[in-house]
Symmetry: C2
Subunit: 348 residues, 2 copies
């Protein structure tokens, strides 16, 4: 077992970090050893991974000596401090925060969509925002076959995207849903001035607001989609909403294609045969994607395909995926797998 990569996971004790570890084992990622890095507070803890015992180490610049691949998932401020330290020491960083996503020198990658961008990497590769990833997986095959000119998306996003404390907030509030005894402290944004209940509520704010009235989350969806798909002029608008769901983001998406007379059957056939997509679209059997059932699954689920009643080039669809898996941990590992397949990460 001397072959394989030395893999670091920064934020190894967090929700996404733990999913990364689980998925590395499940997918038999060729690692030789794992370095589980976290804050000083967690350092020293013992963790069992696939029968081996690991000690959590503090994430310091020196901890990246000898690391081949480093998955970062400990917040943007940690990535800003340590990602360059890791890449300067020879590691390829796959960063799950928003720290470098819009940097022009940082590829922003969903392997099914733009793995060729990995060849432009200079040490750091960014994993896109969860709500962006699942959407572009469904949009890319449509763009390739029929062209894509316009996207309007409204999201139904799970609380696990806001971390373990937000999950706890939802489950605690849910137990008191009848008497409205919620005492919100985390959502919509922990650092924001006001907090609102999520159980029995929906909150039309994810991340903070920007000057144009859109939130950062909405800008992430709009800007990242353009970058990943290399469509700088795509007409795209997003409305991002938090709903009382633990895991699994849902999206109501309207698209306009560039070609006339595209049929729903053509669209169904296309998506049914697209990588990473599972078509769940049989209204007569009440078969459509739902977050309750997508939780824990790798795929992006697409259904409720309909032609717009007034626009031959317009289509409506419903996209659901596990925001911690394809939206975060799984996509990060698929980036690493693509780095190997493309010969960018040399076999060891």
């Amino acid at each position: 077992m001397s072959q394989g990569y030395t893999v670091a996971i920064v934020g190894a004790t967090g929700a996404v970090g733990q999913k990364i570890i689980e998925k590395l084992v499940e997918r038999s990622f060729p690692y030789k050893t794992l370095k589980l890095l976290a804050s000083k507070k967690s350092a020293g803890k013992q963790v069992e991974v696939d029968g081996s015992s690991y000690t959590i180490e503090e994430a310091t610049p020196e901890a990246f000596e000898g690391v081949d691949v480093a998955f970062f998932s400990a917040g943007g401020s940690i990535s800003k401090v340590l990602a360059k330290e890791a890449s300067n020491r020879g590691a390829i960083v796959i960063d799950n925060t928003s720290a470098f996503r819009m940097d022009k020198d940082t590829p922003l990658v969903v392997p099914e969509v733009n793995k060729q961008a990995l060849h432009e990497q200079t040490g750091i590769i960014a994993n896109p925002n969860c709500s962006t990833i699942q959407m572009v997986c469904a949009l890319e095959p449509i763009r390739q076959k029929f062209g894509l000119t316009k996207v309007i998306v409204s999201t139904y996003q799970a609380v696990s995207g806001a971390g373990a404390a937000a999950i706890n907030e939802l489950t605690t509030q849910s137990e008191g849903i009848k008497d409205k005894q919620a005492k919100p402290e985390i959502l919509p944004v922990k650092s924001a001035e006001k907090h609102y209940p999520i159980a029995g509520n929906v909150i039309p704010q994810i991340d903070v607001f920007t000057e144009d009235g859109f939130t950062f989350e909405e800008h992430k969806m709009m800007d990242e989609t353009k970058k990943i798909m290399s469509l700088p002029n795509l007409a795209i608008a997003a409305t991002c909403v938090r709903v009382p769901v633990v895991t699994g983001h849902s999206e109501s998406v309207y698209v306009e294609v560039d070609q006339e007379n595209v049929s729903i059957d053509q669209l169904k056939q296309l998506l049914a045969n697209s990588e990473g997509i599972t078509l769940q679209d049989a209204p007569d059997q009440q078969f459509y994607p739902m977050p309750y059932y997508a939780d824990g699954k790798d795929d992006v689920f697409v259904g409720r395909l309909r032609k717009d009643p007034s626009n031959d080039k317009g289509f409506h669809m419903w996209i659901v995926s596990d925001n911690l898996l394809k939206g975060a941990a799984l996509n990060s590992i698929q980036i690493a797998e693509a780095l190997i397949a493309e010969g960018i990460l040399k076999e060891v």
Copy 2:
């Protein structure tokens, strides 16, 4: 107290029926007496209304003798059997079901939008679908001032729209949200073959599916909006989704106006001064509509106004209202009040 109308409430023991009774008292509707009608099962029960005691009577054709106004809210099949019986006996029926909404001889009315249609009534007036009412309240002032050419709406609908059993299903499931022990029996559609959990889930099905892949709920929003606004050629598409919220429907709405260079400030000022609308739009103070806070309130709340990034004529907004009040009971009573104000229901 010999003056005033004889008012019947059909479905007096249901969620909407009870709200109608509450609102009749709260708004000092000029009733002389109430006839509380329900199924045979509930007949004989005593109910206290504003200090007076009433006996629930069985809803039979004869029960409508001497009735001036009858509010129907006991399901479409009851309305189909009894509404004509009531109007044949001289009552004006205000029907809260979908039974007559699309009949060409039945006015479909939201008083802020089209109270003039009341003059065409021939005994039955239909109250629109809850999700339609709140949307047209916000769309009508926009149409009047700037024109309206296109609407794309995605809804976040509360379970109380599916009745008391659905509320009970959500609250019971919410208590077990951590362990996913849901045993669904009501949602998405009680009579449908499959039922799905609503706690920790969102369900992209409200009402049954039609052949084109849209649900009846989605068709209601599209068809009723065109009828109420007298815009038969409006480009409109809806995606209707049930969320784990007890009361309060939310809507993410994209509109295109007919005029160039409309500013967000113009739109805000317009909506702030529109009847029945409360503008809640101050992102810098995290101020926007949410169902948790709209529950029990009369108004339609509008916020998150944004100009589309790619279309000068496109705007995004977020509309929330109590689906049992403006979406049902309140609008029904406002129709009756408008019938009096317009001289259609003669003063007695």
